[in-house]
Symmetry: C2
Subunit: 410 residues, 2 copies
């Protein structure tokens, strides 16, 4: 008996006709004799209007009440899809987060799943009933509804696949897979047949919007057989996200991502001592701001220097306020910030075994006259910070330099 | 310590500005030192669009899934009102039906409240927190969300007032009270200061739309001090619904209602024996159709006669099918139906002690040339079935004949 979790995003359930289309896709798997559990998002646009309502009532809203409001979007979809399935002769019933239950911590608006009780869902599956579960939501120990943050339905689906020990977790969306880069930037961007969890994780956290980062973390942790496919194709192949060992023809570089949500902060005239960095990053940690790329120039005379780092644009105000309030303790002459920057990243497990990737990258950028403002690397990625205006040019240049339009064998 | 339940209907919470207006009304009571619990409906129009979604997916939808979908409307309002209250400095939190919990039977789409656990709400009230409860919904013993049927939020509010032993239950709506009749028909219709539970119950079930019938039943059973007031007035007086003993200046006739949801069925050529009536009404009972007015003409020769009765228009098809399938057993020559009829009713506790009401009623109708097709009476009401075209004329004639535009003392 094959057990499958199917997840359908907002554009896949945007209206009644699309919900009926989704029901046919579920029925296709069900008719093969599979046990199928479904996770759905809110109909496209619904979550945004619910968020707007909250903001209109009070910009300074209680996150727990925000959760009470926005979690209703997914509930509507579950009921409608259950009705659509029943009308095709497929037994189905809807589940909210609390009905499953999906137990989360209390971090309203960005809760994390603690556990999912699988018994009720398993009972359904074993009776041949398709449970249709509201994604993006759970319930905390006080019995209050929580939401998992934007894109959280992916995480719901992967977590469900993990506890149900599903053979496969199919993420249905409005694109037909994971691409070497954003096809809106590069016309000959290529769909990847397979990509490793590690690469997908880097790509998701570096700006590829196809999957929520946390869902990939979970899939990697529980070795969930994950697939990204299009809701709008008849027999979609999509992209499989799997272990490195499951990929026979490995690629050196899998993809190029870019992220505009970057802000650069520069502290000028800081003392060149280790204590200063500590004071700066303590300040960021206390303000709950993630620091990403860091550049510190050695001072020639060992006295005063500049320090540059990046933070998410949404946290810039908070970061600056925190630094300003510690001007004395940290000791800097001026504080500058810049949001006209973009982070472009090259991701690929092949970097572990292939040398010369960074050199080739910098050469390709410099040939186009693109100045690199900061660099960050990990075992399988290299990120550079450049001026925002050059984003598209850089992505195209790198895509061409690494021949990502055709399949290379590692 | 005064404890109040306030209920706000769909038009009172139709948009963000109106929700803020409602928050101010709640705050006004809270600031007097009262304990306040609030019940809300869905924003006007929301329930209708959710119902339409269900119908568009499949006209033959599962009522339990319908409940999962439509119950979300009230949840949105609870969260938004809680945010609005908090922004005015009033501590508040939202409650869905299952969070209270409001326990109902399993009759999806038209569930009845079994019990309401008051502990969580009481704990809020005692801490000075305003619980904002989703009306119209509950949860059954299987943990599935149920809804109480149209207008069910009134019932939620009254039931809550009963279990919380509230001093008052204020139903805020878009009219400023209960009128002697529909002001759209009769310009000089008069707002009643007080009306008895019994009268309100008759008026609600006979077509006055201001309160759900079941809410009045509950209020009468638990002696809830009920008030209907306008959300759009500054210091509304409204109408108090109370015990007969609490009304000093009793009116003979309190109101005139009309209902268009009537269908007349005539069975021609039935035998004039008691067994026939039994067979007909058994058929209706088995089809779950309520029979209202009944007219049976005695046959002069004791052999064949006609039998006429009314059923709700929505049940007409079902009723006819049931009768047709028993044509043999019942024995009738033909089956006719007519939906061009309206039931006009005169309601007043004064009927118990005053005679001549019926005579005056028939005289007023006949003076206008209105033919009465059927009659039904109870201790405190007289209903007549007339052709639909005469509805407005009949209501006006009766309103004038009984001088309902001015207060009479009983």
């Amino acid at each position: 008996m094959t057990r499958i979790v199917q997840k359908f995003g907002g554009t896949s359930v945007a209206d009644v006709d699309r919900i009926k289309n989704v029901a046919r896709k579920v029925k296709a798997e069900y008719d093969k004799g599979h046990q199928v559990a479904v996770v759905v998002s809110a109909m496209a646009g619904v979550t945004n209007s619910l968020v707007r309502y909250c903001q209109d009532v009070s910009p300074d809203y209680d996150a727990r009440e925000y959760d009470a409001v926005v979690s209703t979007g997914e509930q509507v979809t579950t009921g409608l899809l259950a009705i659509a399935l029943q009308s095709l002769g497929v037994p189905a019933r809807s589940f909210t987060g609390w009905q499953v239950p999906v137990l989360t911590d209390k971090a309203a608006g960005k809760a994390r799943i603690d556990t999912i009780e699988p018994d009720r869902l398993k009972a359904c599956l074993e009776k041949g009933i398709v449970p249709v579960v509201a994604g993006f939501q759970g319930v905390d120990e006080d019995g209050r509804t929580t939401t998992l943050g934007r894109g959280g339905s992916d995480t719901s689906a992967v977590a469900l696949a993990a506890v149900l020990k599903a053979d496969r977790c199919d993420i249905y969306t409005d694109v037909d897979g994971v691409y070497t880069t954003d096809p809106r930037f590069v016309k000959n961007a290529r769909k990847l047949d397979r990509v490793t969890y590690e690469e997908m994780l880097e790509m998701a956290s570096l700006g590829a919007k196809v999957l929520q980062t946390r869902s990939v973390e979970l899939a990697m942790k529980y070795r969930v057989n994950l697939r990204v496919v299009s809701s709008f194709e008849e027999n979609p192949v999509g992209t499989i996200i799997c272990d490195e060992d499951d990929i026979v023809e490995k690629e050196i570089i899998s993809g190029i991502t870019y992220s505009r949500d970057e802000a650069k902060i520069t502290l000028a005239g800081v003392r060149d001592t280790p204590g200063v960095s500590a004071a700066v990053f303590d300040a960021m940690a206390e303000a709950n701001v993630c620091v990403d790329m860091i550049v510190q120039t050695d001072s020639s005379d060992g006295k005063l220097t500049d320090m540059t780092f990046t933070v998410p644009q949404t946290d810039l105000k908070k970061a600056l306020a925190s630094l300003e309030s510690r001007r004395e303790r940290i000791g800097f002459s001026s504080l500058m910030s810049d949001t006209d920057c973009v982070k472009v990243s090259l991701v690929g497990v092949g970097m572990r075994t292939h040398t010369g990737i960074a050199g080739k990258m910098f050469k390709a950028l410099s040939e186009k006259g693109i100045n690199v403002q900061a660099i960050a690397t990990s075992e399988i990625k290299i990120s550079v910070l450049i001026a925002e205006d050059y984003a598209e040019l850089a992505v195209r240049a790198l895509h061409a330099a690494f021949h990502l339009d055709r399949k290379e064998e590692g």
